[in-house]
Amino acid sequence: MANPEFYALNASQTRRNAAIDALRAPCYALGITMAGFSTIARESGFDFWMALVTSLGVWGMPGQVAFASLYSTGASLFIIFVAVSLANMRMLLMVISAADMMHLKSHNLPLWKRIFWMQFLAITAWANLGLAQQKYPPNLLLPYYQGFALTIFAFGILGTIFGFFLSDLLPPDILRVVIFITPIYILLLIINARQKANRLAVLIGGVLSPVFFPFAGEWAILIAGILGGSLASLYSRFIAKWHLESVQ
């Protein structure tokens, strides 16, 4: 539940706290990861502006990596569209989940502002929102998200910019390895989700993804997500009866 000391904060103090939280570690991890994307993008044949606009407009690492991989093979635009859509389909679920956590409805923002703020949503900000939910009251989660997401977005874009030219200085193999930093960090974060059902979903989704990949390709993410989430949801609701019960 929310920590009493955070109830006294106002929106701008919360934004500042969130920016500090982001500056502690996640923004560097994300900056380095985006530098890794830039390296892959450059190897795949992107020019600087294409890599930058992709980071600004897509802002979803798995979709960006899928895009760069396909681009390097000379795939058709239709294949690129389908693969990126599949890799980033989780945005739909993450946006719904984040809007629910932040009680976005109660802030009465116009549609364009809601879409604008959700453009900055990626896995790191979403996973950290789950963590912040355990400390901050729901009305402060939108300012928290704004402070956090904008900070990591700035670092992610800086990472894209520097990463593109960094491969002149560092061997690409090193930069290709750094792409793993953020996934490991996020996996640790989401496996500690507040709801037991969500922890189970992380486990099942993670196990099913490599199982389905050999024969389902990019569809494996979609199948693992829907199947893993549904199994976790059914188990928690009808067998373990975890619903509405939080991890202590």
């Binding site: 960006q64 989780r90 549904s230």
Partner: protein, 80 residues
């Protein structure tokens, strides 16, 4: 398989952006229609967690498939 021209390269970037933004817009629109504490929201959340977990385990499997020398020639052609 062939190299992309200037127009096709940017069309590909545009496709990638549309392929992502569409989900975000759909999420914003749907979020306001799903009851907050209902079972559907719980299900959406577990699917989000499972899908994020699935996608994180996919990032690690990236294999660049472009011969490096060809890619480098294109970069030099595009940047300098």
């Amino acid at each position: 398989m062939e190299d992309y021209g200037f127009f096709q390269s940017w069309a590909a970037v545009f496709c990638a952006i549309i392929g992502t933004i569409t989900w975000r817009i759909a999420g914003v629109v749907l979020a306001s229609r799903i009851p907050a504490d209902g079972p559907v929201m719980g299900w959406v959340n577990t699917m989000a967690y499972a899908m994020v977990s699935a996608v994180l385990l996919r990032i690690g499997n990236h294999r660049p498939r472009s011969p490096p020398d060809r890619a480098w020639r294109r970069i030099i052609g595009n940047v300098h």
